[in-house]
Structure formats: structure tokens, C-alpha cells
């Protein structure tokens, strides 16, 4: 992303690389997006007479609990990847495999979520069956969309890291991309607690 700077161009020492800084600002905005969604949900739930509505199916707490562990473990594997590349100052097959494991765990999470959605729709929980369903699909769907974006970012990182095969070239990209995934993982337990436990 950084063009090579000639000596005549301004080149102040950057405490934080451009890409990481931009990612921090993006995640700040994303955090406010989720804050908006979550506060709308909390306010609405607080005003409801019965929550969840009597005729609506219950949410799959146990399966999603296991799925939560899968998502968290993906962040742990991603941490192992960054620790390894930082310690060895190099990119080898073992470290790229760790990145691949992270992606596979993320894909597993999305797949489980998708099959659970299909079952819930079968039981009659849809966007227009109740406000309960509307909030469920909006909140969890917003997160799911972010997981998919996160997976695309990690996939991009996987190929970029493989191509660069050099820690110094890839380190700024790694630092920016992993932030997004950590954000996606960090926000999930909050949503799980708020939406699945009533």
C-alpha cells in the first residue's frame, strides 16, 4: 500500500502505519454501528410486555454456544500466527497454515450459523413473523455479514502473505487485517449474551 518514498518527499516517522490507523478508524465507526443496533434492541426489549413472544420458536443456545467457542478459538489461532511470525521474523509454511486454520474455523462458524438460520425459518421465525425475529435476523445478520467480510480479508491476507514470503514486507498488512478479525470475534459474545439469553 505504501509507495516507496523518495528522499525529497515528506517522510515523518509513523508511530502507527497508515493501514493500521485506517483500520482503527473503520472499527471505531463499526463499533458505533453495533452500538446503535444493540441499543435499539435493548430499548425495544425493555418496552415489550412478553419477551420472547409466546408463539415464536426459542433460539438454539447450546449449538450457538459451541459455535461461539469455535469463533473464539479462531482468534486464538490467529494470535498464534502473529506470535509465530513476530518471533521468527519470517513467514514459513507452518505460519501460513495457522492462518488457514483461522479461516477454516471462521467458515465453520458461518456454516453452523447458516444451518441454524435455515432451521429457525422452518420453525416459523422470519423477519416479519415478529419484532423478535426482525431484531434477531438484523443483529445476527449484521454480525454474520461482518464475519464474511472478515473472512475475505483473511483470505486476501493469506495470499498476500504467501506471495510476499517476507515478514518485513507483510507486517503492516498483517497488523491491519488481524484487527478486523479480532473485532468480529470480540463483538460476538456480547451479541450472543444479549440475543440468545432472555
Amino acid at each position: 500500500m505504501d509507495a516507496t518514498l523518495t528522499t525529497s518527499k515528506p517522510n515523518i516517522s509513523k508511530a502507527v502505519p497508515d493501514g493500521v490507523l485506517a483500520m482503527i478508524f473503520i472499527l471505531f465507526t463499526e463499533g458505533m454501528l453495533f452500538a446503535g443496533l444493540i441499543s435499539a434492541y435493548i430499548v425495544n426489549r425493555a418496552g415489550a410486555m412478553v419477551w420472547p413472544p409466546a408463539d415464536q420458536p426459542r433460539l438454539p443456545v447450546e449449538v450457538t454456544g459451541i459455535n461461539t467457542l469455535i469463533l473464539i478459538s479462531s482468534a486464538v489461532v490467529l494470535y498464534l500466527f502473529t506470535r509465530r511470525v513476530k518471533n521468527t521474523m519470517a513467514i514459513d509454511a507452518k505460519s501460513t497454515n495457522l492462518l488457514l486454520v483461522t479461516i477454516l474455523l471462521g467458515v465453520t462458524f458461518v456454516t453452523v450459523q447458516g444451518t441454524e438460520w435455515a432451521r429457525l425459518i422452518g420453525y416459523g421465525l422470519t423477519t416479519h413473523s415478529s419484532i423478535y425475529g426482525a431484531f434477531f435476523y438484523t443483529l445476527i445478520g449484521a454480525h454474520g455479514l461482518h464475519v464474511m467480510v472478515g473472512l475475505s480479508i483473511l483470505l486476501y491476507l493469506y495470499f498476500a502473505v504467501k506471495k510476499a514470503a517476507n515478514f518485513e514486507i507483510a507486517k503492516n498488512k498483517i497488523a491491519a487485517c488481524i484487527l478486523y478479525w479480532y473485532f468480529v470475534v470480540a463483538i460476538w459474545p456480547i451479541l450472543y449474551r444479549l440475543v440468545y439469553f432472555n
Binding site: P10, D18, G36, N44, Y132
Partner: protein, 564 residues
């Protein structure tokens, strides 16, 4: 990437350019075109208000539905498609790299994409006039049930609902916000990481500070609006009931999410223009800016307060009176930092050697008009008065007295000031003065009398008062007619500006680097600045406002002059 020696084609130089100056110019031209569209809409509905039931020249008959759509889209355009691109994107793109001594933005490609997403958003907005049912007409605030009411249907036809005026408006706003977000991130990263050597935080010109503070306010407040906008879109196209009380939803939720963004947004629009004043006033009074650091602290304080005032738009919407008092206090508190900033501006003028050039006239006109807007805002901030004046022409006059000087006087001040820099040519100053005085007089002619109409009880969303004998009585109908005639005058006046620009662009380049004898870095570069801006890159040794230093030979000392 492999072929780096190709010559820049027409497309890559003027259309899909990644140069921050070209992108800034594109944003400005797009904003001016949209201002023309918004102005035309205003002309049509103002004509209808003054002469109800008459055929409107250059339009025809205006029905109530079209009237509502015109008022709504006029507001939308002026805030999102004129104010935002011109004040934030055009100024930010053009000025930030030049004023901090950088060659370009941190992410030039993202910058280019930002403009083209913005251009698409403008097309989607215009397209919404031509779908079945026409453009959305429920007010620019898009309150449900107006914005969800036509489709409060648990099983809407997805595509029919998607191609309605309401959905297209939501999509257009969403795209516009994405474009602005990309720009805002670019501003912040550029300012933090691409400053010239020696450009420390307390040497950055105020306008760059203010553009960045505006970007942070925007990023803080836009998330909840996007959340609310998606929920509104789902209500329309998927049949969710977020804002439908029959199904457990709440229309007040939208008002909170909208105004959580909507009110900080006015400070997003105000700060860049105040930054323009902070650049212009010292140059034309040959004095250092008064209280540079205090101005920045005051702006940060106002940024903090700006997210605590939103519900003052909802005093009549049925919120808890205790909450209304809290928001009244917050609203009145926020006038303190802005009063401080204006006081610092006036102290800058005090005892200065004032040069009354055209940019300075716009700057001073801004201060005068904004005072009227600010003071009437104090009345409205108090919930006891607001309950009486809510949704009347008093409110309309109030926010036009804030936003018109902010968007247009701020823009014209900046345009007359920086035009020699970005074209290398000088605008005709007597035409500039005509433009200023006529705009100033006609603007007051449009909106001053409307304060009285509002206090008399005229509601802002009625297209024809003739069936309401109590509020269409004289002199208020005459006031409407005076306002409309002045509005037409105001729009015609802008042709002086266009003529002046076209005529000046056809002149030969004078290429004067620093015609106003200013100190900031953009005046060090050539006029117009070349691709890459500086050669060699400047090093900064002093603050941005060193005018009339006691031991200096001339009364301005540019930022790249080493200290003795």
C-alpha cells in the same frame, strides 16, 4: 503496474484521477451542480407558496404530493449533496495535503473511489424522482410512519418496495455516507501520518484541525444512523416492524437514531466553514489568529457536547419532560464554545490593519448572519419556547440563517480566497463585490420576514395556505411573496458568480504564488500546484499565523521561514 511510464490519458487525469486536487475539484463541481438542482426545487416550491394555484414558470402546476417531495429532496440535497461534498470533501481534499506539506492523500485510490461512490449516490437520488410514486415526500428527517407507512405491509413486494422513492432515498443516503466515511478516514490518516517535517500538532492550521474534528464527529455519529436506516429499509422491503407500534416497534426509535447523527451533522458542516474563517480573518487583518490553542480546545468541547443534544429536535414528539430538560441544558451549553470561537475571531479583527477584499467580505458576512441563526437557536433550544415554535417557519428561518452562511458564505469565502491558488488566475473583484452584496441582501430578504410568519403560526409543511384563513392573513401572505421574489433574486445573483468564474478561467495565468500574502504552506507551492504539490518539500519552523512580527521585514512570515 508493470507499465509505469505511460502518459496520463484524459481519463486517468481528469475522470478517474487519484490526485487530491482533481478529486477536490470534482467534489466541488458536483456539489455546485447539486446546489443548482436544490435551488431549482426551492424556486418551484417557494413560487407555489407565494402564488398558490398559479402555474409556475419553467415547471408548471405543482401538486401537494410533488410539493412535499420537492421540499424533502431540497433539504436532503442541500445537506448531504452540497454541504458535505463542498465543505468537507472539496476543502478537505484540496487543502489538507497542501496545508500540511504533503504530496497527496494517504490512500489516493480510496479517495478516487470515494468520489465515484458519491457520484453514484447523487444519480440514485435523482433517479428517485422517476420511479412510480415519485420521490419521497415525508420531510428530510424521514420520520416513520411516512417513511414506512406506504409499505406497512408484512409481506411487501420486495422489488416494488425496493424501487420506491423511499427505498432509493435511503440507499442514496447510505452510499453518500460511505463516500464521506472513506474521505474522512483519508483525512485523519493523512493528517496524522503525512505531515511535512516540523509540522507539529500545534503548528497545523485551524482548518485542518477542524476538518479532522468534523471527520471524527461524523464517524462517531454515523453508525447509529446507518443502523436505523437499514432497519427502515427492512421495514419497507422485508416487512419487519421496527417502527410499527402495531407490531411492537416504535417510531420514536428512528427519531433518536436519526438525530443522534443529525444534530452532530450540523457541526460536521459548521466546523470546516469556521476553519475557513480562521484562515481568512488573520490574512486580511494582518494579525495573528487570536487564541489559536483555545479555539482548538473549544472545538473539541463542542464536538463532545454535540453528541449530547440530539433530542432537542423531539421536544414535541412525546419524550419524557425530565429528558427534555437535560437536552435543553445541553443545547444551550453548546453555544458557549461556539460563542468563544466567534469571540476569538472578533478579537483577531480588533486593532488589525483590515484589508476589505472579497474573501474578507464573505467571512464577515458569515459572522453577521450566523449570529442571527445562533441567537434564534438559543430560543429554540429551550423546550418551553420550542413547543410553541416547533415546525413553523421560525424554525425554517433559524436553520437557514445558520446553514446558508455556513454552506454558501463559507464556500464563497473559501472560493474567492483559494481560487488564485488552484487556477493561477484572479477573479474580478468588483463582480465579486456585487455578488456578495446582492447575495447578502437577497438572503435576508428571503428569510428575515419568515421569522414573523413562523411566530404567527405558519406551519412549514403546508403547500397552500389559502384554505387556512387565520394564518394566510395579511401581512403574512405579502411576506411570502417578498421572500419568493428575493429567493429568485438570490438565485439569479449566482449567475454573476458563474460568469465571473468562466471569464476569469479564460484569462492568462498570472501564476502569482501568494497574492494575499499569507503564511500557510499551500501558498509556498506553485499556482496551480503541480502533481506532487511541492518541489522541494517544505520544512516547517513556526506556527500558521505569524503576521506582523515586530522584528520581521514584511508583515507575514510563512511557516517554512526558519527562526532567526
Amino acid at each position: 503496474m508493470e507499465n509505469t511510464h505511460h502518459k496520463q490519458s484524459f481519463w486517468s487525469k481528469y475522470v478517474f484521477s487519484t490526485d487530491h486536487k482533481t478529486i477536490g475539484t470534482q467534489y466541488m463541481i458536483m456539489g455546485m451542480i447539486m446546489a443548482g438542482v436544490g435551488g431549482y426545487l426551492a424556486y418551484v416550491f417557494r413560487y407555489n407558496l407565494a402564488f398558490p394555484g398559479k402555474s409556475i414558470p419553467f415547471y408548471g402546476m405543482l401538486g401537494p404530493q410533488a410539493y412535499n417531495a420537492f421540499v424533502t429532496i431540497h433539504g436532503m440535497i442541500m445537506v448531504f449533496w452540497v454541504g458535505m461534498p463542498v465543505l468537507l470533501s472539496a476543502f478537505g481534499n484540496y487543502l489538507i495535503p497542501l496545508m500540511i506539506g504533503s504530496d497527496d492523500m494517504a490512500f489516493p485510490t480510496v479517495n478516487m473511489m470515494s468520489f465515484w461512490i458519491f457520484a453514484v449516490s447523487a444519480l440514485v437520488l435523482i433517479a428517485s424522482f422517476f420511479v412510480p410514486g415519485g420521490a419521497f415526500g415525508g420531510g428530510w428527517t424521514m420520520y416513520p410512519p411516512f417513511s414506512a407507512g406506504g409499505y406497512l405491509d408484512p409481506n411487501p413486494n420486495f422489488f416494488k418496495a425496493l424501487f420506491s422513492g423511499t427505498s432509493l432515498l435511503i440507499l442514496a443516503v447510505a452510499l453518500e455516507l460511505v463516500a464521506m466515511l472513506m474521505g474522512g478516514i483519508n483525512f485523519l490518516v493523512t493528517t496524522i501520518n503525512k505531515r511535512a517535517k516540523g509540522m507539529t500538532a500545534w503548528r497545523i492550521p485551524i482548518i485542518v484541525w477542524f476538518l479532522n474534528i468534523a471527520a471524527v464527529i461524523f464517524m462517531f455519529s454515523v453508525g447509529p444512523l446507518v443502523a436505523g436506516a437499514f432497519m427502515l429499509l427492512f421495514d419497507n422491503v422485508l416487512g419487519t416492524g421496527f417502527y410499527d407500534p402495531h407490531r411492537g416497534g416504535d417510531p420514536m426509535l428512528w427519531e433518536h437514531l436519526f438525530w443522534f447523527f443529525g444534530h452532530p451533522e450540523v457541526y460536521v458542516l459548521l466546523l470546516p466553514s469556521l476553519g475557513v474563517l480562521a484562515e481568512i480573518l488573520p490574512v486580511f487583518s494582518r494579525k495573528p489568529l487570536f487564541a489559536y490553542k483555545t479555539i482548538i480546545y473549544l472545538a473539541l468541547a463542542s464536538a463532545f457536547l454535540s453528541v449530547l443534544v440530539w433530542a432537542h429536535h423531539q421536544f414535541v414528539a412525546g419524550i419524557d419532560p425530565r429528558m427534555a430538560t437535560f437536552f435543553s441544558i445541553g443545547t444551550i451549553l453548546i453555544s458557549i464554545p461556539f460563542a468563544g470561537i466567534f469571540l476569538a475571531f472578533m478579537a483577531t479583527l480588533w486593532g488589525g490593519a483590515i484589508r476589505m477584499k472579497v474573501p474578507m467580505m464573505w467571512a464577515i458576512g458569515f459572522i453577521g448572519l450566523f449570529l442571527v441563526g445562533g441567537l434564534t437557536g438559543l430560543f429554540l433550544g429551550s423546550n418551553t419556547f420550542d413547543i410553541y415554535a416547533h415546525d413553523t417557519y421560525f424554525v425554517v428561518a433559524h436553520f437557514h440563517y445558520t446553514l446558508f452562511p455556513d454552506i454558501f458564505f463559507g464556500f464563497f469565502a473559501a472560493f474567492y480566497y483559494w481560487f488564485p491558488k488552484f487556477s493561477g488566475k484572479q477573479l474580478n473583484s468588483s463582480m465579486g463585490k456585487w455578488h456578495f452584496w446582492l447575495t447578502f441582501i437577497f438572503f435576508n430578504g428571503v428569510f428575515f420576514l419568515l421569522f414573523f410568519n413562523g411566530l404567527a403560526g405558519q406551519h412549514r409543511r403546508i403547500n397552500d395556505y389559502s384554505s387556512f384563513s387565520l394564518i394566510s392573513r395579511e401581512p403574512y401572505q405579502t411576506f411570502e411573496q417578498i421572500a419568493t421574489i428575493c429567493a429568485i433574486g438570490l438565485m439569479l445573483t449566482q449567475f454573476i458568480f458563474i460568469f465571473n468564474v468562466v471569464k476569469s478561467l479564460r484569462k492568462v495565468k498570472t501564476g502569482v504564488k501568494n497574492p494575499w500574502e499569507a503564511t500557510t504552506l499551500e501558498w509556498v507551492s506553485d499556482s496551480p500546484p503541480p502533481h506532487g504539490n511541492f518541489n522541494p518539500y517544505p520544512e516547517v519552523f513556526r506556527g500558521a499565523y505569524d503576521y506582523s512580527l515586530p522584528d520581521a521585514e514584511v508583515d507575514f512570515t510563512p511557516q517554512n521561514t526558519p527562526k532567526a
